[in-house]
C-alpha cells in the first residue's frame, strides 16, 4: 500500500513537471520574438549583420545613444507622451461624469437607446471614419495639429471607458451620494469628491487602457499628422523600416523604447488589469 502511494505521488509529480515544462516552453516560444528584439538592441552592428544565428554576443549601448542623440525619435516620444496623456485625462473625466449619469439615473428618456449606441460605437469600423474625419479636421484647420489626435483618441476610448465605469459605479452603494447630497454637495462635487476616491481602481484600468490604445494607434496618426515634427512614435517607428534600406539595429532599439511604457504599466497592474479587461470584454 505504502509503495503504491509513493509510486502514485511520483507519477503525479512527473506529470506536474511535464505540464510545467511544456507550458513554460510554449510561453517562452511565444515571448521569444520580443526577447530577440531586446537582445538585438544591445548588440553592436557588426555582430547583428552576420550570416549565422547567435544568441549571445557582446553588449553595447551604442544603438541607444545613436537613436536618442542622432535621430528624430526623441521628438516622436515627446509628441506621443503629450497627445496620449491629455487624451487619457480627458477620456477619464468625461467617461466618469457620463457613467455617473447613467448609473444614478435609471429611467430617463432615451437611456437604453443611448447606452446601446455607446456600446455599438465599439463595434464600429474605425478605418472608414478616417476619410470624413480628415475632411472635417481640414475644415477646422486641425490637420497636422495634435489637437485633432487628442480629440480622436479621447473619442476612441470613451465607449469602453463609459461601459467599464458604469459597471464599477453600479457596485458603489448610493447611500454615500445621498449622505453627501444631504450635506448639500452638488452633483459634480459628489462625483469628484465622493465617487472618484472610491472608484479609483476602475479609473486606473480605464486610464491605462486609454493610454495604451492611444500609444499604439497608427492609422489616425499616419493620416492626420503630415509633417515629420508632429509624428507620433508608431508612425515614426514605421518610417524607420520603410521602403529603403533598413537600419535594423535602430528599429529594434526604437521598438524596445516604444514598448517600455506599456510594459511598465502592465507590470504594475498585471493581475487587476487582466481580470478587468477580460471581464469587460466578455460582459461588454
Amino acid at each position: 500500500m505504502a509503495t503504491l502511494s509513493t509510486r502514485q505521488t511520483r507519477l503525479h509529480f512527473a506529470r506536474d513537471l511535464a505540464t510545467v515544462i511544456f507550458g513554460l516552453f510554449i510561453l517562452l516560444l511565444l515571448a521569444f520574438p520580443f526577447i530577440w528584439v531586446v537582445l538585438i538592441s544591445f548588440r553592436p552592428d557588426r555582430e547583428i549583420f552576420t550570416r549565422t544565428f547567435r544568441l549571445i554576443t557582446s553588449v553595447t549601448l551604442d544603438n541607444y545613444y545613436a537613436l536618442l542623440e542622432n535621430s528624430p525619435f526623441p521628438n516622436y516620444l515627446v509628441n506621443s507622451a503629450i497627445v496620449c496623456s491629455i487624451s487619457t485625462v480627458a477620456a477619464v473625466i468625461i467617461s466618469l461624469v457620463a457613467a455617473y449619469g447613467f448609473s444614478r439615473n435609471r429611467s430617463f428618456k432615451g437611456r437604453g437607446v443611448l447606452l446601446m449606441l455607446v456600446i455599438c460605437t465599439q463595434l464600429f469600423p474605425f478605418v472608414i471614419l478616417i476619410t470624413p474625419l480628415y475632411s472635417l479636421f481640414l475644415h477646422l484647420g486641425l490637420i497636422d495639429n495634435p489637437v485633432s489626435l487628442v480629440i480622436s483618441y479621447t473619442a476612441m476610448n470613451l465607449p469602453f471607458a463609459i461601459y467599464l465605469l458604469l459597471g464599477y459605479l453600479d457596485t458603489i452603494p448610493q447611500d454615500l451620494d445621498e449622505a453627501a447630497k444631504l450635506d448639500g454637495a452638488s452633483t459634480l462635487q459628489i462625483i469628484f469628491k465622493v465617487i472618484l476616491p472610491i472608484a479609483w481602481p476602475g479609473l486606473v484600468t480605464v486610464a491605462v487602457n486609454a493610454f495604451v490604445s492611444a500609444w499604439d494607434e497608427f492609422l489616425f496618426a499616419l493620416t492626420l499628422m503630415t509633417s515629420d515634427e508632429k509624428k507620433t512614435v508608431p508612425v515614426g517607428l514605421a518610417g524607420f523600416f520603410g521602403e529603403y534600406t533598413t537600419q535594423w539595429n535602430l528599429v529594434m532599439t526604437a521598438s524596445v523604447i516604444t514598448t517600455l511604457p506599456t510594459l511598465i504599466l502592465f507590470m504594475f497592474l498585471q493581475r487587476k488589469l487582466v481580470s478587468d479587461l477580460a471581464a469587460g470584454a466578455v460582459k461588454r
Binding site: 510554449i26 467617461s95 469600423p125 528599429v251 493581475r271
Partner: protein
C-alpha cells in the same frame, strides 16, 4: 474643509430647490460631453461618409461643393478587378483563418495553463507575465520584430532553417506569394493571441471545481471532462470572443499595411488598405468612401449577431 463644503452645499441646495423643475435635465447634462464627443467622432463622420460615397470627390476638393453621381462610385468600385480579391483576402485570409487559429490555440493554451500545478507551484505570476508579452507590444513593434525575424539574409528564422539544413538560401517570406499570407497571419495571430488566452483563462477559472471533481470520481478521463463539461460551459464565451475578434480583425489596417503595403503587387490587399490607398494615395475619396460604406454594411450583420447573442445571454442571467 468640511465647513467650506457645507457652505457651498447650502448655497447649492438653495439653488437646487429653486430649480427642481429642471432636475430632470441633470442626467442629460452629465452625459452631454461624452455624447457630443461621440457624435463628432462617430455619428457625424459616418453620415458624411455616406454622403461622400455618392459624390465625385478628390482629396483636394474636400469641402467644396461636389457633383452628386448617384451610385457611380459603387459601380466603379464593385466592377473594379481588385475588390473581389480584397474581400476574399479580408474575409478569409486575414479574418477567418486567424480567428479560427486563435480560438483553437487560445483554448488549448488556456486549458494547459489552467492546470492546477501552476498554482500549487506558485508559477501563476510567471505564466501571466509571459502570456502577456505579445499583448503589451504595440502592433507596429510586433510587425517590426517579425519583419526582422523573417529577413531573408539576417533574419533569425532563415538563419536557423539554413543551419539545420532545411533550406540553402534565405526565403524572402514577405515578397513571395506562396509565403506572404502565412507570414502576415503569423504576426497577427502572435500579437492578438493573448487576449483570447486571457479571456478563456478567466472563463475556465469561473467553472466550479466540484463539477470536474465529481466527473473524475465517476471515472471520466481528462479528455472527456473537457469535451463534455468544460467546452459546453465555455460556449457563450467562445461565441463572444469569436464575434469580437472577427469584427476587430475584419477592419484591421495596420498589419497588412506595415508588413506588405498590400503587396507583392496587390496580392495581400485587404478592404481597409484598399480603402486607404484609393482615398489617400490615389486621391479618389468618393470611391474610398464607397468601399467604407460596403465594409460597414458587412460589419452591421456581424454587429447584429453580436448584440443578439449578448441580449440572449443577459436574459439567461435574469
Amino acid at each position: 474643509m468640511s465647513a467650506t463644503v457645507s457652505e457651498q452645499g447650502s448655497a447649492a441646495g438653495a439653488a437646487r430647490k429653486a430649480s427642481t423643475s429642471l432636475h430632470w435635465l441633470e442626467p442629460y447634462a452629465l452625459i452631454l460631453p461624452a455624447m457630443a464627443v461621440l457624435a463628432f467622432f462617430f455619428a457625424g463622420p459616418a453620415i458624411y461618409s455616406i454622403a461622400l460615397s455618392f459624390q465625385q470627390v478628390s482629396l483636394f476638393d474636400l469641402g467644396k461643393p461636389n457633383a452628386w453621381v448617384g451610385f457611380d462610385n459603387f459601380v466603379v468600385v464593385l466592377s473594379g478587378a481588385g475588390l473581389g480579391a480584397a474581400f476574399f483576402n479580408t474575409a478569409v485570409m486575414q479574418t477567418f483563418v486567424t480567428v479560427l487559429l486563435r480560438l483553437v490555440f487560445g483554448l488549448a493554451l488556456a486549458i494547459l495553463l489552467n492546470a492546477d500545478v501552476f498554482r500549487r507551484w506558485h508559477l501563476g505570476w510567471l505564466v501571466r507575465s509571459l502570456v502577456l508579452v505579445p499583448f503589451v507590444i504595440p502592433p507596429v513593434v510586433a510587425v517590426a520584430a517579425w519583419k526582422w525575424l523573417l529577413d531573408p539574409r539576417y533574419g533569425a528564422v532563415n538563419q536557423l532553417l539554413i543551419s539545420v539544413g532545411a533550406i540553402e538560401r534565405g526565403i524572402p517570406f514577405l515578397s513571395r506569394t506562396s509565403t506572404v499570407w502565412g507570414a502576415v497571419e503569423t504576426m497577427l495571430i502572435w500579437r492578438e493571441l493573448p487576449f483570447v488566452v486571457i479571456t478563456f483563462l478567466a472563463a475556465l477559472q469561473s467553472i466550479p471545481k466540484e463539477l470536474k471533481e465529481s466527473a473524475r470520481i465517476d471515472g471520466a478521463s481528462e479528455f472527456q471532462i473537457h469535451m463534455r463539461i468544460v467546452l459546453p460551459m465555455l460556449k457563450p464565451v467562445i461565441a463572444v470572443v469569436a464575434l469580437l475578434t472577427t469584427i476587430w480583425t475584419f477592419n484591421n489596417f495596420v498589419y497588412v499595411w506595415l508588413a506588405t503595403r498590400g503587396g507583392p503587387g496587390d496580392y495581400t490587399q485587404v478592404l481597409a488598405t484598399k480603402m486607404y490607398t484609393v482615398s489617400f494615395v490615389d486621391y479618389r475619396v468618393g470611391e474610398g468612401a464607397a468601399i467604407g460604406v460596403l465594409m460597414s454594411v458587412i460589419m452591421f450583420v456581424f454587429a447584429l449577431a453580436y448584440l443578439t447573442i449578448l441580449a440572449r445571454q443577459n436574459k439567461g442571467k435574469g
